[in-house]
């Protein structure tokens, strides 16, 4: 007997090599594709959130331009307007914009040295709506008229249609890119798995000619490639989740987040990646093994 080998202690070894150098390339390719697909998914979610944010901000507020009438000073008129608007159902808050702030808004157009004191600068009242039941522009106008205030209500409706259209395009574009990347990833995972399977043709032939049933051989490869793809999917998804987390942390309230507002909950979206990658690889391996066995039979 071999000194190192005791047949009584022998246990069957795995029928496929535990480690195969060719598997490294397969895992790398799948991991990169999963990473890209996950990044696109996170980008899509961020685009959706950004789009919802843009429309939400516009629909959740209104600006009222107040013109003083008679001897009433603009500041007093603006104060009365804010008071009247605050009582309208669906308004969360109404406050006057200080004169300095109103002038600052005009500064880019009129310059710093303009004789602003001589100009009839209108006073502005900003209105924050109740998010659940926002007041309509008509209700605000009605309240102002009832209080005898000459004012114009701008509920941003002119912008909202354009913004909503842009937001819709952003959402669909993100979804389209994600679907393209995800299907390309699935196709490449399938091809890479088939290519790796071809390298095991000799093993498949020996098992087949030794009387192994097709299902026995198919399961062997299906399990192996599903495991490899799951591992690769885990790497890819983790990489994308780290990038998403960094974007979230680096952005905070500023920087990246207003453009691509990734939320912590979005990171959960990459969780199914290892399972999906494993599923695609398992199906590809199954089909490839069945094809090879079909050729042999």
């Amino acid at each position: 007997m071999s000194e190192l080998f005791d047949p009584k202690r022998w246990r069957p070894a795995p029928l496929l090599p535990r480690r195969d150098p060719r598997d490294g390339a397969l895992v790398f390719v799948i991991a990169v594709l999963c990473f890209l697909a996950c990044l696109t998914a996170l980008g899509g979610l961020a685009a959706d959130r950004a789009a919802r944010g843009w429309t939400g901000q516009l629909t959740g507020s209104a600006t009222v331009v107040v013109r003083a009438m008679g001897a009433e000073s603009p500041d007093i008129a603006a104060g009365r307007a804010a008071e009247a608007l605050a009582g309208v159902p669906g308004v969360a808050e109404a406050r006057t914009l200080e004169k300095e702030k109103a002038e600052a808004l005009l500064e880019p157009w009129l310059g710093r040295d303009a004789l602003l004191d001589d100009l009839p600068i209108p006073r502005l009242v900003t209105v924050e709506m109740d998010a659940k039941q926002p007041a309509t522009a008509a209700a605000l106008t009605q309240a102002l008229k009832a209080a005898g205030i000459d004012a114009t209500v701008d509920d941003h409706s002119l912008w909202i249609a354009d913004i909503e259209r842009a937001a819709g395009i952003a959402r669909w574009a993100a979804l389209g890119v994600f679907l393209l990347i995800a299907s390309a990833a699935a196709a490449v995972i399938g091809f890479a798995t088939r290519a790796a399977m071809a390298a095991h043709r000799e093993t498949i032939e020996v098992l087949h000619l030794s009387g192994a049933k097709a299902d026995f051989v198919v399961r062997l490869f299906q399990t192996r490639f599903a495991k490899a793809a799951a591992l690769a999917g885990l790497f890819g998804a983790s990489g994308a989740a780290i990038i998403g987390a960094l974007a979230r942390l680096a952005g905070g309230g500023q920087g990246l987040t207003p453009v691509a507002p990734v939320a912590w909950i979005d990171l959960v979206a990459v969780a199914p990646t290892p399972f999906l990658a494993a599923l695609v690889a398992a199906v590809a391996a199954r089909l490839a093994a069945q094809g090879l066995i079909g050729e042999l039979a």
Partner: protein, 219 residues
């Protein structure tokens, strides 16, 4: 039989091997010996004609039943076809494992067989570390480990010395005595003559002689 659109490699070959018989398959290179063996161990299909195994037309056998048929046939491939990532022990145990046997039921048999073919100290070795002769003996052990009803061997003594060739021949004869039908393709005319077993002789894809021993006379 033909491969793809090539010319026929076997033509009008018709013979029957009685259960428990022992034959050598001889002929020059390219005569069709390996192709004939492939047809019998179900690695190829005939382009015309029929093959019966164990009294059944193989074309009529459902694909799901073919594995069971293959388990009754032991094959020693010319190029060994060992699985390089499995130890010698695992390679020999492979057919028993595929058949669903439990390791504790067959590991002693595997160890004894490996000892018998002279690989007692190489049980844990991987095929790439074995010599040509050792690989050949390992391939033979794998082919006979489940005591097949038919044993087919393609040049099984091609890489071993005379002493080992005779030892292998004795193993085949022993298996044959136990009821296994044996068909061995061989170039080794000396071994074939010494064995005194009947011969199927192929030339140009045709069966030129059947049943005659190289010692002379009908077997």
């Amino acid at each position: 039989m033909r491969y793809g659109r090539s010319t026929e490699v076997l033509k009008d070959v018709s013979f029957a091997l009685a259960p428990g018989s022992f034959h050598f398959l001889t002929g020059p290179s390219g005569a069709g010996k390996s192709s004939l063996l492939k047809l019998i161990y179900l690695a190829e299909r005939p382009s015309r004609g029929t093959i019966e195994l164990f009294g059944r037309d193989v074309e009529a056998i459902a694909p799901s039943d073919r594995p069971y048929l293959r388990r009754r046939i032991g094959v020693v491939f010319q190029e060994f076809r060992l699985l390089d990532h499995l130890t010698a022990f695992d390679n020999v145990a492979l057919p028993l494992r595929i058949a669903g046997g439990k390791p504790e039921a067959y590991r002693t048999d595997v160890a004894e067989l490996l000892s018998w073919v002279g690989l007692k100290n190489r049980m844990h070795a991987l095929p790439p570390t074995l010599s040509g002769g050792e690989k050949q003996r390992l391939a033979i052990a794998r082919a006979v480990v489940n005591r097949p009803d038919i044993l087919l061997a393609d040049e099984p003594t091609g890489n071993v010395d005379d002493a080992h060739a005779l030892r292998i021949l004795k193993l085949f004869v022993e298996l044959n005595r136990l009821g296994t039908t044996v068909l061995i393709a061989s170039h080794d005319e000396d071994l074939v003559a010494r064995s005194g077993q009947p011969v199927l002789h192929l030339e140009g894809g045709r069966l030129r002689a059947f049943g005659r021993s190289l010692r002379g006379g009908q077997a």
